[in-house]
């Protein structure tokens, strides 16, 4: 059976944590959560995962595991999380309601900040995450509304804005990857512009450029490697009820 789009995205996101060593993996969303557990069960066994509340968990159990059945190994309340953020020992995969060609991300508000057209959750930890440790993004609904020329509020900091703010911002700033439901991207273009790395099976380069509100850097584009049979088996073990299929339209 060929993998679904969600499963391709999971394998692609898991790659951001390859060879990451002993750092905290913080996934936002179902697909990134499955991906972080896949990475831990395969090529990055030392990853540190949390229960989403205030503890580090043992192993990479199914996402359906009841809270009382998780095995916890250390307490990491929010105060400790910020110490981890500022130490750099973390790679987060956040979502973006809007992202631009330099990787500026918005999850605060669409429209003018004093009176938004759509109020979202808020800047959260995005400003601090993006200048302190590796920050990648997951966008489940790639379109010209999400991949935009300029985001309405800069929460996560992109390469252009970090550079403007100086060494205080650039020293630990790194945006390794953006994964959407259409493809995989990095910032290897001129001046760290977003570049298309691969298109998911069944997606053309044209599909991606048409759904993107700015000029993408297009280099040598390959097809996103689908998950192996072994990875697919682990994915269904981690997500036995198929929650991954509800996060994107395949």
């Amino acid at each position: 059976m060929s993998p679904t789009r969600a499963e391709v995205c999971i394998a692609a996101i898991a790659e951001v944590w390859r060879d990451a060593g002993e750092i905290m993996a913080s996934p936002f969303g179902t697909i990134p959560m499955v991906a972080s557990r896949l990475a831990k069960r395969t090529f990055s066994p030392d990853l540190v995962l949390t229960d989403g509340e205030a503890a580090i968990i043992v192993g990479a159990p199914p996402i359906t595991t009841k809270p009382q059945d998780l095995v916890r190994e250390a307490s990491v309340p929010y105060k400790t999380i910020f110490s981890i953020v500022w130490s750099g020992r973390r790679h987060i995969v956040m979502q973006a309601s809007q992202i631009d060609q330099f990787g500026n991300q918005n999850l605060s508000a669409i429209g003018p900040h004093h009176q938004p057209k759509v109020q979202l959750i808020g800047v959260r930890g995005a400003p601090g995450n993006s200048v302190n440790h590796k920050t990648s993004y997951w966008v489940p609904d790639h379109s010209t509304r999400t991949f935009v020329q300029a985001v309405d509020t800069v929460c996560g900091v992109g390469y252009d804005r970090a550079k403007k703010a100086g060494v205080g911002a650039t020293r630990f700033h790194e945006l390794p990857r953006v994964v959407s439901n259409l493809g995989v991207f990095d910032f290897s273009g001129p001046d760290h512009e977003m570049a298309l790395v691969s298109v998911h099976p069944g997606v053309s380069v044209d599909d991606v450029t048409r759904a993107t509100g700015f000029a993408l850097h297009i280099g040598d584009v390959v097809e996103t490697p689908p998950p192996t049979d072994e990875q697919l088996a682990i994915i269904s073990e981690i997500d036995p009820k198929g929650a991954r299929e509800r996060e994107i339209k395949s």
Binding site: A54, K79, G125, V131, N132, C155, A165
Partner: protein, 297 residues
């Protein structure tokens, strides 16, 4: 030994319009909701609310009691967005200062330590700084000598100002009559810093025990609020409802859903307000008990 036990009415009477009020907890977790409900009837206005925002922020902003909010987010956790907050923001009805949630921590810490600011990288390059002329940066002063880090020479850092509070309210799992309190759940959040940053320090608690009896409630290491941090202690059983107060109780998801459904429409919100939010705390708890009975059947 002073007995710090008090009442919701007494605490509210110490406040005045225009004050800056800190509210502990995080999102829809261990919020001092009994105080929030009391504030709805207080007649106070023009408050600035400082909060890791949950339903407290939406309720107080929507009621017109808060006109200014300092927050990094407003969320109900299991439901991402609070419809009351969304409506207030989308009609342009509130002055919001948005800060990174880590900067927020530093702001409370600076106030608690009585320093004007604490430095951070967080916020640099983002609209937290670019769109807020009140926030300033500071130059790294260590340019040479043994403490200079060559990679940070020339760095500007964000100087997060102290978030000083006129009053702070937090909800604990238990407190004692002398003013100590314990958080027996998974996370103390930043409640101790809210208290440290405030002039009037108020702890509401599920239960109030005799001085010295908190060690029987849970490990003493969890009793991180000592009496140097508190002025008033108020017993408010189920006082964090409908937010979570583990291990005493989880979030009341059915009630939170009812709140969200009601809040999405003016008519149903008026109905909800009249049923749950128009009386005293005791009235509220009775109405909730009835709601829970009805949900069971």
């Amino acid at each position: 030994m002073a007995d710090k036990r008090s009442t919701l009415d007494e605490a509210i009477s110490r406040l005045s319009s225009g004050m800056t009020i800190g509210i502990g907890g995080w999102g829809s977790r261990r919020k001092p909701m009994a105080i929030v409900r009391a504030l709805l009837h207080s007649g106070l206005s023009d408050l600035t609310i400082v909060s890791y925002g949950g339903p407290d922020v939406g309720l107080l902003a929507n009621a017109g009691i808060a006109t200014k909010v300092i927050a990094g987010f407003v969320t109900l956790d299991s439901i991402a967005l609070d419809p009351l907050w969304r409506q207030v923001r989308q009609r342009g009805g509130i002055d919001l200062t948005e800060v990174d949630e880590g900067l927020f921590y530093l702001g409370l810490q600076a106030a608690a330590w009585r320093v004007p600011f604490l430095p951070a990288r967080a916020g640099l390059g983002s609209d937290v700084l670019e769109r807020n002329p009140l926030l300033k940066t500071v130059a790294n002063p260590y340019l040479d000598g043994p403490f200079a880090d060559p990679a940070d020479v020339g760095a500007q850092l964000l100087a997060m100002p102290a978030l000083r509070l006129d009053a702070a309210f937090v909800h604990a799992n238990a407190a004692d009559t002398a003013g100590n309190a314990t958080f027996t759940g998974p996370d103390p959040y930043f409640d101790e810093l809210f208290l440290g940053a405030a002039d009037l320090r108020v702890v509401t608690a599920e239960t109030v025990v005799a001085e010295g009896a908190l060690s029987a409630v849970g490990p003493l290491a969890k009793a991180t609020v000592h009496r140097l941090l508190t002025d008033l202690i108020i017993e408010t059983p189920n006082g964090a409802h409908f937010t979570s107060c583990a291990p005493n109780y989880d979030r009341d998801e059915a009630f939170q859903k009812a709140y969200v459904t009601a809040a999405s429409d003016a008519a149903t919100w008026a109905e909800f307000t009249s049923r749950f939010l128009s009386g005293t705390e005791a009235d509220y708890q009775r109405a909730v008990a009835t709601f829970q009975e009805e949900s069971k059947s």
